[in-house]
């Protein structure tokens, strides 16, 4: 990108508020993610970081705030702008891939079908082409030999890599990762982080909620520390060594 050229904004969140009954989980969060950027979100449990990630693809609908993906508004809007048309969540999900903590593969389908189903049912691609494209994504995460296995026959790390392939097959503009290694045995964490690192190197836009501070330090262009429903601090990699806020420092010290 030449000087003066603006990177395209992929995600633009403004004034996001979310509450479950009287539990105010997000208290006004702004976040902008540009194309190719790798954003790492960290913070104590209950800080709202997973909820924030889930509002990006509307698995959680914020009560207030603007969720704009590639310039299209999907949220209820910020105060004063309410009432404009919102695009359907289904359209948003064509652009945003998601990887869950618990993998959430479909247990009754083969690995290949897990990856191919979105192409077939969402894009209307015929079976042969869908399977070929699914296989290509599985090769990318190193699991081509497992196409006909069922998820229960795979290790947690392999399941999560299938889940990554499943999200990639629709060529999303951004990939969301919700604590993708938290449910894994320690020896399986590396292979999943490896797949994510490979993905980051291709220039994929990524938002990662993680406790893997080493990984965050390695790929994070924008690093966001959340606590009690707000962004306490955000910045480049210096946040891990030289944070401004005491709360950030305390948290990093505690997890490292």
């Amino acid at each position: 990108m030449g000087p003066g050229e603006q990177a395209e904004t992929v995600i633009d969140l403004r004034g996001i508020q979310k509450w479950f009954d009287d539990n105010h989980v997000l208290r006004g969060v702004d976040l902008t993610v540009t194309r190719g950027e790798h954003v790492c979100v960290f913070g104590p449990s209950g800080s709202g970081k997973s909820t924030l990630l889930r509002t990006i693809n509307l698995l959680e609908e914020p009560q207030r705030g603007s969720v704009r993906i590639l310039g299209v508004e999907y949220g209820p809007g910020v105060d004063g702008e309410v009432g404009r048309g919102r695009a359907p969540a289904k359209q948003l999900r064509q652009h945003v891939g998601m990887v869950f903590q618990q993998f959430n593969l479909f247990p009754h389908m083969t690995v290949l079908d897990n990856v191919a189903i979105a192409l077939r049912r969402v894009r209307g691609v015929d079976r042969a082409e869908a399977e070929e494209r699914a296989a290509r994504q599985l090769r990318r995460v190193g699991l081509l030999q497992k196409v006909s296995a069922y998820p229960s026959q795979l290790s947690g790390g392999q399941q999560q890599r299938v889940a990554i392939a499943r999200a990639l097959v629709l060529d999303p503009d951004v990939m969301l990762f919700d604590e993708p290694t938290s449910a894994l045995d320690p020896e399986l964490v590396g292979e999943v982080l490896g797949a994510m690192r490979d993905l980051a190197e291709t220039g994929m836009t990524m938002v990662v909620v993680t406790h893997e501070m080493g990984f965050a330090r390695e790929i994070g262009d924008q690093n966001v520390f959340m606590d009690e429903g707000v962004i306490v601090e955000q910045g480049g990699r210096e946040i891990y060594t030289d944070s401004r806020e005491a709360r950030t420092r305390d948290f990093i010290r505690a997890v490292l």
Binding site: V96, F100, P107, I117, R121, Y150, R166, A167
Partner: protein
Amino acid sequence: MTFDTALVVERLPQMLAATRLTLGVSLLAFVLAVLVGLVMAAGRRSRLVPARALSFVYVNVFRGAALYVLVIWLFNGLAVATGILLSALTVGVLALTLLNSAYLAEVFRAAISGVDHGQWEAGNAIGLSRWDVFRRVVAPQAARIAVPATGNHLVDALKDSSILAVIAVPELMFVTNGIAQTTFRPFELYVTAAGIYLAIVFVLSWGLRRLERRLGVSGTRPVAPVV
């Protein structure tokens, strides 16, 4: 006491002919009950309040109805109350359908709720429509959960159809009663009737076990792996 085998052999064709009606009534009622049960289960999970209310009332009224009372009322009471006169056979199918569909609605609702919420989320996240998530992702897993309990209701419908003898539906029990009263050999005839019911239940149970294995219901030896 002697067991009059010759009588059984002589009357068996007549009883087996009546068994065809027993099977017809109970299978038809079961199929209808599955369909109505699915609709009512969907109603219970609907976003529309009237749909939820309707299915709630339906389930609780017909689950609370005693089959015997329901049969007698539909046959005699409905005509008095509304002037609608139903044939005994219609009443039979209707009563078995109403009762079993109410139970099956709860079986299906529980089975759908039993599928991990993450499956809905994963389906939504890859852009599937709500219907596709249900049809392709949730329903196949819910079916595994629902099949054993659903099979029980098939067996129940079969055995319960014997109550239709009270309104003279010429099924196995009614025909057996008739033969027993004219030949004065109730023991042989009711043992034979019981044997026929038991044999059908055995065959059904065998079929259900095969189905469970094919679907990989937990507790059976899976053909397709299960989580």
